[in-house]
């Protein structure tokens, strides 16, 4: 039960300042375009927040590219749009925060082998809902999502898209309930990223073998028996090692119900 409202609110209100700049080689006008500054929610996805910016930069690129797909990069690294914005920032600049976050906007040479295509917001919604279902499978064997109606799914997405905390959490708290008679989920939906971006996903139970609540430290010991001093960051904060996994998953998952943790 995710009832620590204060934590949920703090996490929800997180925003990042982004400075978008058009790639130099794509500028076709004589006049240099102004950089576009905008505050974007940490929990959102790039395709949801870039409409205005795109309109602004479209004027300055050659006409033939006006229909091609836009993509972003930070320091030459193409940004995967299907990762939440806050998580991308933590992954790429977590150790070395620099604000505003300077990103370059491209309209040509789409890096096919790195990025997925995102033609419209429906693609983002499909990805989001799929991830939520995946998390539900791990947590409740998929029972909660399957018992929910389509309008509930829609409300979930709309709440996220329109930045409506109450709308979103009205539905999401059902996904944070325990599974059956047990206290807690069946498994914790968790994605662990190393600093080169490789993701690994493991089956992690919120309980130890003796039935006690597993803490972060215990999980780390399970997953990385050889490493020491492993620290995990999410939402821009470093998680204390004695945090219970169940609480962590309930309160600090991203809207897609997954914990995205950067390992460093």
């Amino acid at each position: 039960m995710a009832n620590d409202r204060e934590v949920l609110r703090e996490i929800w209100d997180g925003k990042l300042p982004i400075c978008f700049q058009l790639a130099q080689e794509e500028i076709m006008e004589i006049q240099q375009p102004d950089a576009f500054y905008v505050m974007v929610p940490r929990l959102s996805y790039f395709p949801l927040v870039t409409d205005k910016m795109k309109r602004h930069f479209l004027r300055y690129i050659s006409q033939e590219n006006s229909d091609s797909e836009m993509w972003l990069d930070y320091n030459g690294q193409p940004l995967k749009w299907h990762y939440p914005i806050g998580f991308l920032y933590d992954l790429l600049c977590g150790n070395d925060p620099q604000l505003p976050w300077h990103l370059t906007v491209h309209f040509t040479k789409f890096p096919e082998d790195v990025l997925l295509h995102c033609n419209n917001k429906d693609v983002v919604e499909a990805h989001f809902m799929s991830t939520v279902k995946e998390a539900d499978v791990l947590k409740h064997r998929g029972q909660v999502m399957s018992t929910m109606q389509k309008k509930d799914h829609n409300q979930l997405w709309l709440g996220l898209q329109n930045d409506k905390f109450d709308q979103f959490w009205a539905i999401n708290r059902r996904l944070m309930e325990s599974h059956g008679d047990n206290e807690g989920f069946k498994h914790i939906p968790i994605k662990l990223y190393s600093d080169d971006g490789t993701c690994s996903q493991r089956l992690v139970s919120p309980k130890n073998n003796d039935g006690s609540r597993k803490t972060l430290q215990q999980m780390v010991a399970e997953l990385y028996p050889d490493k020491h001093d492993v620290q995990l960051r999410t939402h821009g904060v470093i998680i204390p090692s004695d945090t219970p996994l169940q609480w962590l998953s309930e309160h600090m998952s991203y809207p897609d119900n997954f914990l995205h943790l950067c390992v460093f």
């Binding site: 620590d4 209100d13 997180g14 500054y37 905008v38 602004h56 090692s241 945090t243 219970p244």
Partner: protein, 549 residues
């Protein structure tokens, strides 16, 4: 709400984060975006104004706002505009006219083509109608033909039916006639039998009388002086002879004498039924004489032969008579109306003898061309030819069916033929030419008159000569001199060169009597089958009937 140090740490970290990341920049960026938007809107307005400016400058007026001095210009402009429009319309009209002309031409062509097609189709149609008409006419013709044929068919069918009915009726009649015939024949047979019986009775009676007489005489004779032997046989023989004498009714005197023909008379035959005798002569005629009453009446003359008639024969019923002639043909007449019925030509030599074979539908002829021919009178054709190898002088048929034929030939042979075979089954060699043959009534004995002046009696069962008859004064007159058995078979007679008819007893071999009355050689003799009358004819046109009439 769970507590714990970790929660506090998390909360504080989050708050710090938010302060650092969000709060610091929120206002700045908000202002920036507002400015940005303003700039954009201003830019857009600017752009629009410049565009307007450009447009106004292009159209050549100083300011958009002052509209007074431009009224006439506007009118001019409007008029110019109108002219432009009209010109455009004109060009488009011209173009359209050109297109229409084009269309008209193509349509004309089409019309032309269609007309041609139409013409062609018309021609085809007319041809077709013509064909149809002709076909119809044909159909009509066929129909009429068919009705005609049907009519004909019907007629034929009707005729056929009528014919069938007639046929049925005639068949009935035939059947009836056949039945009648059969019944008549039966009756006839019955009558004949009756007659025969009567005759037999008569004869018996006669014999009885005679025997009585003889007994009486014998008694007288015996009474008189022992026995007077004549030396010519035993008493039995004598008795037999006497009996036979009377039985045979040996003719002793000539009852009738008449001239039969204008030339040699070659053949004589009694009719088996009534007292009719037929004679055939060198005058090519066959004459029928009736001796029923004590005078001889010529019954009829059968003409038709082109040369002398060598032999005549009656059929078993006495209705037909066949005459063998020297013109290589034989002829069959009906006795009743004396009409020539058949002429049997085919021989290449004189036909010496012709006899009916059993039923009066077959005739066998023997000829000098060394063949015997069997003729079927219904088909009037020669059905068989037997090659004898020597001229046939006479022939007899053995039994009623005629299955065995015996012929006497120039080469001194008597040949026996089975009617079915070609070759002679048997032959007997004699001492001289065979001039005539006769068969006894029981078909067991054959009489042959031979040119060596003898008569040979041949037993057919043993095929040997039983007896031979001769006399010092008996000489055979000609090559066709005919001998004949008497009615009982006990007597035989033959004509001699000296004009006498010699009569022998076949059993004893004794010459019974010599009947001399002819002046020339006797050519043929014939016994009446019942009454014992003997007819003889000679070379001097004469015919004599011997016996008691």
């Amino acid at each position: 709400m769970e507590g714990g140090d970790w929660r506090n740490r998390i909360i504080s970290q989050l708050q710090a984060r938010n302060k650092y990341e969000t709060a610091a920049f929120q206002d700045l960026i908000t202002f920036q975006s507002r400015l940005f938007d303003n700039v954009n809107t201003l830019k857009n307005e600017n752009l629009q104004l410049t565009l307007l400016n450009e447009r106004i400058r292009f159209t050549g007026t100083d300011s958009v706002l002052s509209g007074t001095g431009t009224a006439s210009n506007e009118r001019i402009q409007a008029l110019e505009q109108k002219i432009l429009i009209q010109q455009e319309e004109l060009t488009s009209m011209h173009r359209r006219r050109g297109e229409n002309a084009q269309q008209i031409m193509s349509l004309n062509e089409k019309v032309h083509d269609l007309e041609k097609q139409l013409q062609a189709k018309d021609i085809i149609i007319s041809e077709n109608t013509a064909v149809i008409a002709s076909l119809r006419a044909e159909i009509q013709m066929y129909e009429t033909n068919m009705t005609e044929l049907q009519g004909l068919n019907q007629v034929l069918r009707d005729e056929h039916q009528a014919l069938q009915i007639a046929f049925a009726a005639i068949e009935d009649k035939l059947r009836k006639a056949q039945d009648e015939n059969r019944s008549l024949v039966e009756r006839l047979i019955k009558y004949k039998a009756k007659d025969a019986d009567k005759m037999n009775e008569e004869n018996e009676h006669f014999i009885k009388k005679k025997t009585e007489k003889v007994r009486k005489e014998l008694e007288e004779a015996a009474r008189e002086s022992g026995s007077r032997s004549s030396g010519s046989g035993s008493s039995e023989d004598k008795i037999l002879d006497s009996i036979s004498q009377f039985y045979g009714t040996l003719p002793s005197k000539a009852a009738l004498r008449f001239d039969a023909h204008d030339g040699e008379v070659n053949a004589v035959k009694w009719s088996p039924t009534d007292r009719l005798v037929a004679t055939g002569g060198a005058d090519r005629k066959v004459k029928l004489w009736d001796v029923a009453k004590c005078v001889v009446e010529i019954k009829g003359t059968l003409v038709g032969s082109n040369a002398g008639v060598m032999s005549v024969d009656f059929d078993s019923t006495g209705a037909y008579i066949v005459g063998a002639s020297n013109d290589f043909a034989s002829r069959v007449w009906t006795v009743a109306d004396q009409r020539l019925r058949h002429t049997l030509t085919g021989h290449s030599g004189k036909v010496m003898a012709a006899k009916f074979l059993g039923e009066p539908t077959k005739v066998i002829t023997g000829s000098h061309d060394r063949t015997l021919k069997i003729w079927d009178l219904r088909s009037k054709m020669c059905t068989e030819t037997k090659f004898a190898g020597s001229s046939c002088n006479d022939l007899v048929t053995s039994d009623g069916a005629g299955s065995t034929i015996i012929s006497g030939h120039f080469d001194k042979r008597i040949r026996f033929w089975d009617i079915r075979t070609e070759m002679s089954a048997n032959d007997i060699m004699l001492q001289g030419k065979v001039t005539s043959l006769d068969l006894s009534r029981d078909n067991n004995y054959l009489l042959a008159c031979v040119r060596d002046d003898t008569i040979q009696l041949i037993d057919l069962r043993m095929n040997t000569i039983v007896r031979s008859f001769s006399h010092e004064s008996f000489k055979v007159g000609c090559d066709w001199s005919r001998a004949a058995f008497g009615p009982g078979g006990r007597l035989l007679s033959v004509g001699a060169a000296d004009g006498a008819a010699y009569v022998w007893n076949t059993h004893s071999g004794r010459l019974e009597t010599i009947l001399k009355d002819h002046t020339s050689a006797v050519t043929a003799v014939s016994w009446h089958p019942q009454s014992g009358l003997l007819a003889s004819v000679d070379r001097g046109k004469r015919a004599i009937i011997w016996g008691d009439l």
